[in-house]
Symmetry: C2
């Protein structure tokens, strides 16, 4: 495609959602300001067409207009507020809690299998360092891509931790305890079979929300992760826009390639979501024109919630950034991330989790949210019916 | 203890709950009549004391009197109506659906580990026959007790099936499909850690409802399963009647031993439940005297639902057997099994699942139910508040 040459692995790393999320509300200073500088590698978009997708309802900039569409609850890595992220158990719990869509982050193994893990590294959610000592790269990290699926299946999965002076401390101290019970890494196919099996046994229709992680990194390692992900989706019957799947990626070049090349070649036409981090690279997208450009190849955006409400908003004075209105005017759905009930994960202008949801659903007017707490979000939406 | 001599493995098999359940409503003839013949091995009970447990509320035989205690939803093998029984995922789903207690059936491995499986055999829920061909006993079955935990961890777990002409067919055709996704056998400790971890992350207090499976069989094989189960419970802090655990068993001799010998020796005092199948052996228990005798060493009964309502009852004329009244008069809780929404799993006098629950909670007056569908049962109880 000739689009990989100007991107490096380090740029790709910046786009990893967890990294940006983890910093969300902890910096304290003018994060939003730094987030809207420039993203030169997106300049090609200026040459792309500007027509909004046809057939998609355009709400316009008055986003308080009642919208008939159901607000979506997207289980972020499963019911990750309660069980270790991306485990089969966390997905079953999210399903039971009434999520509309369940997220799968996809990374590729040495033997070209897609596994459901947030990071390209295994070392912050598994015991890889003790099971396979000496298999780290020079940066000290254990890369999924350096292990076969059989090797990865030998690992135990834990609630996410950070290593401080070689001692593991939980990222979220009030969640599931570290290293308890019995969890393992599973494949994308196994998660699809879980959700399809539950759709059979419950009679419901819960959808998939897979993310292509770090496509440039995978390409540098000789692997085409987007093509592989599309093949698995197609194998399980997800081929058209009516098939209950949103395919998400932080990399606009990869989404453009999926839209223009991969899906047509595979006779697929899935709904695509451009993820947008609160970082400099995405500055050129945060405008009416940026949204119109995106709408030529995606169906919605998954922005950091930081990008939708001005940082200096107060409880009595919420000021939206206008991005939601730009997106809706271009016919794009808006599914911000990540909604958590913990106080230190919440912006200061929200007094509690329900208040946060009220602000984003009612004042900002988003179409759905990525949440670690599907149950609280489903309950909130049911209570206001 | 000298109590094993008059019991054989085949008698023990009769007491396996699944076997009796599977026949529940399918025989069509006078099953209830055959269920109340004699159970000679229970004759020792005639020599046991007759005092009801002190401190337990005695409701009397008017079981329609409003009872303040919360009706309990016991997740039978997890949310087994939706996911393969006894998997970690099925337990996580049951937890999310609001079950008050989650059931663990316990069986012992060759290397003395307690695993959570309903049967003493591995062949109706795992791929043991293909992974370990030649390891069956003469009866063609693959016994848990002949395999180490490491071996059992290599198996894949499926929705329950029956082998007909060597072809696996699902026991419940509308449930989770056979052999899909990725499930494994886990230990009792791992399940306790799941539930305790969820109690931490959710702030709730869901309890355990472990069953000692086939104690006579285990003793014949040289293993004391009840003692091992008590040790694990104690290790995880379950030692007193206030610790959210009911320990159940079909074998009254083993319950008597747990009550009189094992628990005192281990400084434990858990709530005990006598399971009662709709089979001849339990005939001597189905009376006011039988319940008084049981109340000297257990705190409740877990009878087949067949034993609580006369089989010839009709939708407009439900006739209770009196067993619930006898139990309540003796101070015993009543937790019948198994409540399922499938039409062919329901007695003819109930018009649907909610009607079945209305009959048992309101007309029979039970204190809780074992159900494959915790969500529907929780919803039913919430709707009538």
């Amino acid at each position: 495609m000739g689009m990989g040459s100007c991107r490096t692995s380090s740029q790709d790393t910046v786009r990893e959602k967890y990294d940006t999320e983890a910093e969300s509300y902890s910096r304290g200073s003018n994060q939003f300001v730094t987030a809207i500088r420039s993203f030169p590698i997106l300049s090609f978009l200026l040459f792309a067409g500007c027509a909004a997708n046809s057939g998609v309802e355009v709400v316009g900039d008055n986003f308080e207009t009642p919208q008939p569409a159901k607000k979506l609850v997207i289980a972020h890595r499963g019911a990750s507020g309660y069980l270790p992220e991306h485990t089969i158990a966390a997905k079953a719990m999210a399903y039971a809690q009434g999520a509309d869509y369940i997220e799968q982050d996809l990374v590729m193994t040495k033997d070209d299998r897609l596994v459901v893990l947030h990071d390209r590294h295994l070392d912050t959610v598994t015991d890889v360092a003790s099971v396979f000592p000496g298999r780290a790269r020079d940066d000290g990290r254990y890369y999924v891509i350096d292990f076969t699926l059989d090797e990865i299946r030998q690992l135990s999965v834990s609630e996410r931790f950070e290593l401080e002076d070689r001692v593991a401390t939980p990222v979220f101290k009030d969640r599931f305890p570290l290293w308890k019970s019995s969890f393992r890494v599973h494949t994308f196919s196994e998660e699809i079979e879980l959700i399809q099996g539950l759709n059979k046994s419950t009679g419901k229709s819960v959808g998939l929300y897979p993310e292509i992680k770090s496509p440039a990194f995978h390409r540098d390692e000789g692997k085409d992760i987007a093509s592989a992900a599309l093949d698995v989706l197609s194998e399980y019957g997800y081929t058209s826009q009516s098939d209950d799947v949103f395919l998400q990626c932080f990399d606009p070049y990869e989404l453009q390639r999926i839209h223009a090349d991969l899906m047509p070649a595979k006779e697929m036409d899935l709904l695509l979501i451009q993820l947008i981090a609160a970082s400099e690279e995405y500055q050129s997208l945060l405008s009416a024109d940026g949204m119109k450009q995106l709408a030529t190849f995606v169906d919605g955006i998954g922005p950091s919630a930081l990008l939708l409400v001005e940082k200096d908003s107060t409880a009595s004075g919420i000021r939206t950034t206008g991005l939601t209105a730009f997106a809706h005017a271009a016919g794009l759905k808006v599914h911000p991330y990540t909604f958590r009930r913990e106080r230190d994960q919440m912006p200061p202008y929200a007094k509690d989790y329900d208040d946060l949801l009220t602000i984003f659903f009612d004042e900002v007017g988003v179409d759905g949210v990525f949440t670690d707490f599907p149950d609280l979000t489903v309950q909130f939406l049911e209570n206001r019916r």
